[in-house]
Each structure stands twice: as C-alpha cells, then as structure tokens.
C-alpha cells in the first residue's frame, strides 16, 4: 500500500516448511498436526489480545470458503508465563500465511524482537515430534521429547539429515533449545 517492504530473511525462511512437509512425511513418517504455534516474549500489555483480534480479522478477510475450513485462532499462556498464539486449520499454506501476517505486523511496529519461535507439531507413530523455527537465527531445528524432560538426540539428528535439502536447518547443535511442555 505505497510502503516499500524489504524482505526480512529471518521471517520469510519459515515458508520453507511448505515444501519440507512432503519430504518429512515420505521419509520420516511425520504427519502434520494441523496446527502452528507462535510463542512471544514480553509483548506490551494488551498487545497480545490485539494481535489475536487482528489475526482473526485478517483470516476472515482472506478466507472466502466454507466456515468449516476456517482457521481457528487460540490464545494460550504456558507454564512459564509466555504467551502463545495457536492457529489451527486444515491447510498449511493458510497457517503459514497467518504466521507471516503476525510476524510482519510485529516487525513493522518495531516489535520484531518479541517473536521468539514458531512451532510445527507432527505425529510420528505414537509420539509427537516438533520442528521449531527460531526467529532470531532464521533456522529450523527438530525437537523430539521422550517424556521426563528427555529428548531423543539420535532421532533429532536423523531428522535434520533428512530435512537438510528442504529446510534451513540450524547447523549449531548447541542452539537446538527445547521447549518443554509446549502447548501445541
């Protein structure tokens, strides 16, 4: 709308997930859970509710199809007091678009620093597997919790090998920080 928007590489790279899901399904048996979660830190008071309202509005404008296909937006606060927005819906492209809308909006306002991570949950057989996108570094890394604050490092390394052609995977293992008890 008259404003020049320069591409923000850290924010745009999350779209790589749209092509990666195919590889992840065929080679790692990961079934997408139909959700994406965004976790924020230290948003100004009231901004979070505003964000949710904005997102809902944006999606309703976007979504011309039947109400059953509409995306649902939920607000969740986790055990550590961090605020999450969970976008649920059948179509990955729309979920990614919602993500983009949220992130872009915050970045435009100078609140880009409040974006912590986007989390993509998957089912692998009986257990949940997460791909976490860190906004600071613009990279993905896998997270496979096995209960009791443990994680399956071998499976995480295997997933990173499988996905390396499709996703910008974080090369530094010591940056693969977990999100225990993630509400997605």
């Amino acid at each position: 709308m008259g404003r020049t928007r320069l591409p923000k590489p850290n924010e745009d790279r999350v779209f790589a997930m749209s092509t990666a899901v195919i590889t992840l399904e065929t080679e790692a048996s990961l079934q997408s859970d139909g959700k994406v979660g965004i976790v924020f830190k230290a948003l100004p008071a009231g901004r979070f509710d505003q964000l949710t309202r904005d997102t809902v509005n944006m999606l309703q404008i976007q979504d011309q199809t039947a109400p059953d296909d509409a995306l649902k937006v939920q607000e969740v606060k986790d055990d550590l007091g961090f605020e999450w927005m969970v976008v649920e819906g059948p179509d990955l492209e729309s979920r990614l678009a919602a993500l983009h809308g949220v992130a872009q909006g915050l970045i435009d306002e100078g609140l880009g620093g409040c974006l912590l991570a986007a989390v993509f949950p998957f089912q692998q057989g009986q257990r949940k597997v997460y791909w976490i996108y860190g906004y600071k570094q613009g990279t993905f890394y896998p997270f496979v919790p096995t209960g009791n604050r443990q994680r399956d490092n071998a499976e995480e390394i295997r997933l990173s090998a499988i996905a390396k052609e499709d996703l910008p995977v974080e090369p530094d293992l010591s940056s693969w920080f977990p999100l225990w008890g993630v509400p997605v």
Binding site: K41, L80, F82, A117, Q137, S160, S174, P178
Partner: protein
C-alpha cells in the same frame, strides 16, 4: 562388508595418497642415509624389535596403561549383549571386554587382528550413553580392528620412529661426544670433524623426515577415523546414533542442550554465540589425530541422507 552404502572413493583415495607420500618420504630418507654411509643399522634393528613387540602386545600394553580390568558377561550383561550382536553382524570372534574406571567417557578397541582383540570402555561412557548409542560407538571401535588399523599405523609410523630416534639419540650423543674435534662419543672412538659433520647431516635429514611424516601420519589417522565412522554406519545402518553419541561425549559446548528456549531468552537479551572451538578449516585440525566433531557430524549426516534415500 558393504551393506547398502557404496564405497567412499574420495576417502580411499586420500588414504592411499597419504601412504604413498609417506613411502616416498621414507625411500628418500633411506636413499640419503645410504648415500652418506650412515651407520644406523643398529637403530633400525632396535626400532624394528620395538615395533614388533608393540604389534604383538598392544592389547596388553594398552590395558595396563589405562588400568583396565577384564569383565565377564555376568558383570556386564548389557555390554556383552551389544558386543555379541556386533560380532554376529561382522563375523568377528568375541573379543575380550574390559572396563576402565574413569568418569571421562571413552571407548577403544585394540589388537593386531580380530582374533586378538580387546574392547575397553570407561565407566563414564557406560553411564552417559543409551544402548543404541553405545552400540554405534563400539561398532566404530570394532571397525578399527577389522580395518587392521593397528598394523597399518604401525607400518606407517615405522620409519618416522626411526627418524625420531635418530634425532633424539643424535642429540644425546652430540651432547656427550661433541660433533668433532673432541674425544669420546659415538662408538667410544674419537671423532674427526668429517664424521661429526656427517652426524649433523644425518640428524638434520632425520628431523625433516620426522616433521613431514608427522603431518602425513596425522592425516592418515584422521582418514582412518572417518573410515571407522563409516564402518559403524554400515554395521548399524544408523549413523545418527553415532552422531548422537559423539555430541554427548564431546563436551557441553557442542551438545544438544536441555535448557528451555524460553529460559535462555529471559537470561540474556543477546543470542548465544558459539564458543571458540576447533571447527572447519581450523589450523589445529591439521595436527590432530581425530577430525573435528563438526566434520564428523557433517559426514555422518551425509551418510544418513544416503541411507534414507
């Protein structure tokens, strides 16, 4: 023993290149020594005897040096299970199994051939790794035995050891006897200054050979480590287990963290930068016997990608 993974032509080529260059250096060394009529027969014989002894007794030597004690299947049933399974896959006879009482995670296998092999693990590694990771590490160690790395490295180091001994004994004799014009010294006879200069030349040549072969032997050692990683991947068909084991035992700087992202973010506003360590292209790696963790993990990741396609 190739299961589903093709041969790594690049790695094989590099190993042969290192061995070839070593052979060239050693032949040049022998040539020079013959040319200047160097009286080094005694040293060669001594080194040969030492290396043969080392070759035959390496397993016992290593065990006593590390204070390892042999264990039975009753004492370490899980360990015996893992090694037993690996022997079934590789067709190796069951080696002797020892435990080293140390909290530092480590594992090794030694012995001149599969029939005289010993596998030793520290108590530290037993507590840190889960069974599949342990299996991957032991498969790496057994690969060293299968590849007869003890023999290869002993042969590769033979003339380097001769050269090193010449330099050291030459210095020693030099200190006592002088390099010319004074009495006493090598062979108990007085030395003319000509012989003294010959001696210095021998020591210089030996020093150069030692320096060049040092770098080549280190390179060869690193290639054999990659080969053992590959061997482990072929045996277990699961290179990610080895990668996971390596990052666990390599120290906190490189391992996958357990600290929550949300806690890390609140602790400091700046993102964490990687600590300085031996990474790709580091000069220190040239002189190291093992490749850097990053390089090993990258190769294991490639192997994993190959296996899954």
């Amino acid at each position: 023993m190739q299961r589903k993974l093709g041969a790594d032509a690049g790695l094989t080529l590099r190993m042969f290149l290192a061995l070839f260059l070593l052979a060239v250096v050693y032949l040049a060394f022998i040539g020079v020594l013959i040319l200047i009529h160097a009286p080094i027969d005694i040293i060669v014989v001594v080194v040969a005897v030492l290396l043969i002894a080392q070759y035959f007794y390496s397993d016992k030597l290593v065990l006593s040096a590390l204070h390892a004690h042999l264990v039975t299947a009753q004492q370490q049933p899980e360990l015996y299970d893992i090694i037993g399974r690996l022997c079934q896959i590789t067709g190796m006879p069951m080696p002797q199994v020892a435990v080293i009482p140390s909290p530092v995670p480590n594992a090794l296998a030694t012995g001149r051939n599969p029939k005289h092999a010993v596998v030793a693990v520290t108590s530290g590694i037993l507590s840190q790794l889960d069974p599949k990771e342990m299996e991957a590490v032991l498969a790496h160690e057994l690969s060293h035995v299968i590849h007869k790395d003890v023999k290869v490295m002993a042969m590769a180091s033979f003339f380097a050891t001769v050269a090193a001994l010449i330099v050291q004994s030459g210095m020693w004799f030099g200190m006592f006897g002088g390099f010319g014009g004074m009495g006493g010294g090598y062979g108990g006879r007085g030395r003319s200054s000509n012989e003294g200069q010959g001696m210095i030349l021998i020591i210089l040549v030996a020093a150069v050979v030692w320096a060049i072969s040092f770098v080549l032997i280190r390179s060869l050692s690193r290639y054999r480590e990659y080969a053992a990683d590959r061997g482990s991947a072929i045996i277990t068909q699961d290179p990610s287990q080895l990668a996971s084991a390596l990052q666990k035992i390599s120290g906190s700087i490189t391992r996958i963290p357990t600290k929550d992202l949300r806690q890390v973010q609140s602790a400091n506003a700046l993102m964490i930068f990687p600590a300085v360590h031996v990474g790709k292209g580091s000069l220190a790696e040239i002189f190291s016997t093992h490749p850097s963790l990053e390089h090993r993990l990258a190769r294991l990741r490639d192997l994993e990608a190959q296996l899954s396609r």
